[in-house]
């Protein structure tokens, strides 16, 4: 770095000007005003790296979205016999992949609902409370409507991911899922 006489308050030990000094001496200056300048510059550099990380995060979302779309149609998967679940009862199953835990609830004699069990706040598992007509998240006291999966209390803002169901020959099938805003 070039230095003018009014810039320079101290002289390096070997007496040569700052622009002839090694890089480390310019990065760790002795003079307070120069130190302040270097500190602000390095803070700006850190913020630009943060900005880079945010841009990478945005691109990661683009890629995730691309791969989500490529997966296409979800499989049709048998869950259980429809009459094996009592009214007010529930069943946990995996859909569409092995570790995507979902929960099925029989809310009436001919009425079933199924949702992804992950709370849309911080992914804790929700539990059905049929008497109160809600899914309850014990982590932060969040609650979702039992029929629609819409958040009704606590921190969650997005509804639960609904699993589409069909009854074929007395068997319950998961046929897809509905991600909602």
């Amino acid at each position: 770095m070039k230095s003018t006489p009014d810039d320079q308050l101290s002289v390096p030990p070997d007496g040569r000007p700052y622009h002839d000094q090694p890089q480390w001496r310019n990065d760790f200056p002795i003079d307070w005003p120069q130190d302040e300048l270097v500190a602000r510059r390095d803070f700006t550099k850190f913020l630009v790296l943060t900005s880079f990380a945010f841009a990478v995060g945005q691109l990661w979302i683009v890629f995730e979205n691309f791969f989500r779309k490529r997966k296409g149609q979800l499989p049709v998967m048998r869950i259980a016999r429809a009459d094996a679940i009592p009214v007010g009862g529930s069943l946990v199953f995996d859909y569409p992949a092995k570790h995507d835990i979902c929960i099925l609830v029989r809310t009436g004699p001919q009425h079933y609902v199924a949702f992804n069990q992950k709370c849309t706040h911080l992914s804790c598992a929700v539990v059905p409370q049929v008497a109160q007509k809600r899914f309850f998240c014990p982590c932060h006291n969040g609650a979702f409507d039992l029929e629609s999966g819409i958040p009704i209390a606590g921190p969650p803002r997005r509804p639960l991911e609904r699993i589409l169901l069909e009854i074929r020959d007395g068997d319950l099938y998961a046929t897809g899922r509905e991600v909602r805003a």
Partner: protein, 74 residues
């Protein structure tokens, strides 16, 4: 030939650039959280425009930082 900036002038410029960079980074943070929320809710329309906007913000920041280094070596 242009006179090099004095240290006082450099400090003023660096502070100005730092303020702009802080604002852009806060904007990017908001953009990232809003896009993630939209992605998780299945709204795909905003994802690519938001990514382009974020890359433009980063390019702007990188340009401002490179100006600081060029100014110091002037």
């Amino acid at each position: 030939m242009r006179r090099p900036f004095s240290r006082q002038q450099k400090m003023t410029i660096v502070f100005g650039i730092l303020s702009i960079v802080v604002m852009i980074v806060v904007l990017q943070l908001w953009l990232l959280t809003a896009t993630m929320n939209a992605f998780l809710a299945g709204q795909e329309r905003v994802i690519v425009p938001a990514a382009i906007a974020s890359i433009i913000c980063f390019a702007l920041n990188a340009g401002l930082l490179s100006y600081i280094y060029r100014m110091e070596h002037r």
